[in-house]
Amino acid sequence: MWRFIWIRLLQAIPVIFVVITATFFLIRKAPGGPFDAEKPVIPSVKRALEAKYNLDQSMWEQYVSYIAGLFRGDMGPSFKYPGWQVEDLIASGLPITAELGFYALLVALAVGVIAGVIAALKPNTAQDYIPMSLAMIGICMPTFMLGPLLVLLFGIHLEWLPISGWGDLPGDKILPSITLGAAYAAYVARLSRGGMLEIMSQDYIRTARAKGLPERVVVIKHAMRGGLIPVVTFLGPAFAGLLAGSFVVETIFQIPGLGRFYVQAAFNRDYTMILGTTIFLSVLIVMFNLLSDMLAMWMNPRLRQQVSGKR
């Protein structure tokens, strides 16, 4: 198992390197520079700015000095907020987005797995349709619609919960977490229902039943382990994708998270910030894909036994 993790971590190095390189050159091909504004920038001012950010050098020189900076832990100042280092901005937004994503994922898993498993137990009956329909709400109501709806209902009309901020007022984390989680709940529910049905027809489940095990044991200890593999495969990229996906929720609820930086950076052509967040995202993706692969292995008895058998 450790060997497996090491190899995957080693593979991450070229992945991240390719991502950095591709992003570095791609963003410079996008029209519009970081200093373009409605009023044209006076040429001498523009030259001064370009000199300050090394944009007057050749692309390769810039690239080399950027990589060199990375090794020193220096991602450079943001172009949009030049008084701040990119790594500081990421550090300020990351804990918030990570917390938001974690709560959202909890919501998604709680709602989704329960709905999916219950539905899979008696397919094509009311016990299937009702929980699945409830779980579907998150897909039928996209985030930009569910968020304002919750705000209007619980924040404005009932006045139960705060409608903005993160950690400023008690309870202000509830609505954003539900909003972001709802979208994923539907996916989790669908995938776990499908996965459970797949597993429930497997031979080993039949064997377990034939052995006279109570249905509850069969479901929770045996079927869920294998049946939730598609969910776990989905979770890796999903959690990494939260970074980009949380942008809408962060905007609706006025949350100072990383998602806003990530999306705004692209629109602002904030080269260093795009690179910084992208590098960060790629690390997340590698880590979470690895994690979800490990989980899937742990949950799939066959894969797991082969790993341990091999060692």
Binding site: P31, G32, D36, A37, E38, K39, P40, V41, I42, S44, R47, L49, A51, K52, P77, K80, Y81, P82, G83, L89, I114, I118, L121, K122, Q127, P131, P148, I156, E159, W160, L161, P162, S164, G165, L169, P170, G171, I174, D203, Y204, T207, P214, E215, R216, V217, V219, I220, K221, R225, T251, I252, Q254, R260, F261, F267, N268, P301, R302, Q305, Q306
Partner: protein, 583 residues
Amino acid sequence: MTIVRSISAFVDHNPIYYSNGFINIEINMPIKLAGIIVLLLASTIAACGTQESNVDSGNRDGILHFGNGTEVQGLDPHVVTGVPENHLMYALFEGLVNKNPYTLEVEPGVAESWTVSEDGRVYEFVFRETAKWSNGEPVTAKDFEWSWWRALQPALGSQYVFMYFPIKNAEAFFREEIKDFSQVGIKALSDNILRIELANPTPYFLQLIDHYSMFAVHRATIEAHGKASDSYTQWTRPENFIGNGMFVLDEWSLNRHITVSRNENYWDIDKVKLNGIKFYPIDSLTTEERMFRAGQLHRTENIPIERIAWYRDNMPELLHIAAYNGTYFYRVNTRREPFGDVRVRRALAMTINRDLLIASVLDGIVTPSYSITPPGILGYQPPTLFKYDPEGARALLVDAGFPNGNGFPKIELQFNTSDQHRKIGVAIQQMWKKELNIDIVLQNRDWKVYLDNESTANFDLSRAGWIGDYVDPNTFLDMWITDGGVNRTGWGDPEFDRLMLIEAPKAAGRDARFAKFNAAESLLMKNMPILPIYTYSSKHLIHESVRGMPSNVMDHYNYKYMSLQAKPAEIAQKDEMQAEGGE
């Protein structure tokens, strides 16, 4: 092998689950979960049901909660641009003069008084003895001399440096044609006298020095964190910050808020009634409006158009809409056919039913515009050379060779992505289709691509807007000189250039000057390189407890005039509650 062993492994290790039947899972789990969720919700709701809103606590503590659009790029007055920054600059700094928010007349600031020479070219500002930095040091004429020298450093990258150009040799110094700063018309004669010499008499010069790009900064603080010409150094961080405004910087939390509090060293602090301001960067208009409704903000930067009718019907006293010093228009690329033909440009302008557009899509909050300059700036009235006339427009198109739109090429109208630009485009697209039978493709672009297309003349029609930098028609007209930086239409006329660059600056007196402007603007509108649509409005929601925040054409605030007063009824209620609590 694998299957059987794995199952027996599970069973061996987990002998606990056997007693309950299957049914329990089906029923118990959702019920239990629902119970837990309800409990959790109920406990949080109980915890926050009694929360005091920002507006209530702000009214009590004298803190203004201020919706401020987007996050500021920085807090250095010589470097920043933009409206959110503007709001902060006037809180943290003070120029030689201030503006009265009711009349927009100039009031003394750091300068107690000033004199103007007879030819209007030399200003002498007398500094106030009591003007101080937030660390208690006096603000002197030398501070301004050094600050203005700094602003003219090309390496600093000040985007508003053109504000200085009326000053003698300032532009030459900025362009490094003159190295010696003593040749520039900026001179501190003593600690409290600043002498400014202009190249030409500039009637709006006092309006310029109220702009934040001409504020002074604290030399020792800046030099402690880098060279004078370094932009965005650490000196604007709360722990280092020194200013001379009514407030000092307390906290700067990116994408969350910026808080400022009273500067006790400010010379006129007795007149300042607010204890502090909290500025919130809020990207989404709808979020901002909901925060206002939930009592989180005293004032919003904007209002979604769709919400205006509701406020008008239900809470008209909170709605503040006023004419704003800006014009919304479409740029026409005259280098591209068929727009080389002035008849085509005029036909398009004449087929926009501005009244109907404004009444339907813009909720009637703006006024139609038939020229580039907003009407009534300092009494200046722009010419109106055309009106809504589809009949006449069709005749023009026939002359231009496109009877009933036949043979008219498919042209594109680009706009930067925004709901409002889209709506206006959709309405106008249909007007042109209906009246002229020509097809326009609407294309939204992200802001940077849009700018790139405009500056490289890669467009047919392009949505645009212009907000005046100061209160004078000049700010709307000098941009249209041949190949001017923001002209971008390809249109140019030597006569227009002559009127704007030579005749108007030399004209004696406001009337003569405005006559030249009018002649120039008539020339512009006869040639129609732009299609004017409407004059902007500023629109804000302002809580009733806020006093001294009047609407004006510059959307300018002077925090010295502001105060927070809870409504009498609220105060009464509060007193009552306190009395009850005391018993």
